[in-house]
Amino acid sequence: MLSFASRDEHGQILTYFSTRFGIPGGSFDGFCFIKSGNTVWGVSGVPGLAEILSGLKLETAGIPLLRMKKTLWKPTTAGLQSFGHHATRNTVELNDETLGVLLREGFLVGDLCLEPGFVIMKWTGRVLGCGLYSKGSLRSQVPAESWRQIRGKGDIQEI
């Protein structure tokens, strides 16, 4: 069952992205937050959306932004790819070499100037998706199937 996030929830979602990643609230202007279970979806705010939401049984709406568990909020790769370019902190820039290591080894070790927790992984300035930084190690949180596809033979130059 999909429903609009309440005003309070809307504010909490904006605060999360602002606090963790420095993404200004204005980046989400023109979008609605819709909830189903523990997932928050980002949807284009267009006249007619409320009527469709009440008139049809929808499976999903827009793209997933967040998975909300009791104490842990996890941003999605899809959401970060669409909104993560506004981020000013907890982002890690990867080049071909470091991305190659991450793809091959499954983790990247080093002091990456990140707060522990979920981070935005970028490759040459482009948002790849969600990573998890913990105890000096970065691990990909990109959906496994997508990661497997781009991993190929461990050589990102192979196209």
Partner: protein
């Protein structure tokens, strides 16, 4: 086996030749059609302008060693000569492009949905056309992408996430009984079909080798079109498309709705070679306006074969 690695001159199966033989009189340059069907299918991509500009994408991919050839007539379309596995690249993962047959891009182009509109794709999975519609509307409208099977919807969902189509809503109704509580500005109906247009020799014979399959599909298509028209607001437009040549699944499905005045057939202007829709087939006579529909064969556009009709519901 990737299509790009198909043998260039496979032997056509007797069954396949027999299936297409009935189209000898309606397909222009029939021998050329058979020859085109022996060639490997070229790979095409659609740049996802929701995430990257066409020129920026072209430059980025050229830098990375892609061999791209622009398609005259569709700015966001490119023929892809390299890489061989376009579904395994970083640019694909980033949602910068979608792998889509060139002619599969035509229905969304022809429907021409505008920002702010509410659009229904009644049989949407795997989602190439629905995400194209969202792209054309710049994510500033709503596209309800409906399909029935969970597996196909899962593929559609993965494309939505990758392409960042925030304007796409997914539903899972049987299209024949899709609720009529909402009326749509435009509807795309690309129903299940016998898929003759996706056939290239060397592949499995098309479904239409069994005439019973065509009959069953035609019945389903007619019921889907009935409901699609019920879901269209007065004055709204509907594009009906299939990737098959069988007139039973194309002109014959639309003909009764044109004859009884429920829809009018609109002319279609596309900068690609094509043939007109049929106004007769054997002893059957179809409404003359069905000549405004398009038939596209692989010897005209090197891609999937398609049938496309654009319809308008009177006010």
């Amino acid at each position: 086996m990737p299509s790009s690695e198909l043998p260039t001159h496979p032997t056509p199966s007797t069954e396949s030749v027999r299936t297409f033989e009935r189209y000898r009189e309606i397909i222009p340059d029939y021998e050329g059609f058979l020859e085109a069907s022996r060639q490997p299918l070229p790979a095409h991509i659609r740049v996802n302008t929701l995430k990257i500009g066409v020129e920026e994408a072209r430059e980025l991919m050229a830098e990375r060693g892609y061999e791209l050839e622009p398609v005259k007539g569709i700015e966001e379309a490119f023929r892809l000569h390299q890489p061989k596995r376009p579904g395994s690249t970083l640019e694909f993962f980033l949602g910068y492009y979608h792998i889509q047959g060139l002619t599969s891009m035509f229905p969304a182009k022809i429907l021409d949905a505008q920002p702010g509109e509410i659009v229904l794709d009644l049989c949407a999975a795997p989602g190439g056309k629905a995400t194209h519609l969202a792209q054309m509307m710049k994510n500033r409208g709503l596209v309800v992408a409906n399909d029935t099977t969970i597996d196909r919807i899962a593929i559609l969902r993965s494309h939505i996430d990758r392409l960042g189509t925030t304007s796409l809503l997914v539903s899972r109704y049987d299209g024949r009984i899709f609720p009529t509580r909402i009326l749509f500005d435009r509807v795309l109906l690309d129903p299940p079909c016998s898929g003759e247009g996706t056939y290239r020799f060397g592949r499995t014979s098309p479904l239409s080798t069994d005439p019973g399959v065509v009959r069953r599909l035609a019945g389903l298509q007619q019921r889907l079109l009935r409901r699609a028209l019920d879901l269209l607001r007065p004055g709204g437009t509907l594009v009906y498309s299939t990737c098959t040549y069988a007139p039973e699944e194309n002109e014959e499905v639309i003909h009764p709705f044109v004859t009884n005045g429920e829809v009018e057939v609109l002319s279609i202007d596309i900068p690609f070679p094509h043939s007109p829709g049929l106004t007769s087939w054997g002893e059957k006579i179809f409404h003359t306006d069905l000549a405004k529909a398009l038939r596209i064969y692989p010897n005209q556009v090197d891609s999937w074969g398609f049938f496309i009709a654009k319809l308008r519901k009177p006010r």
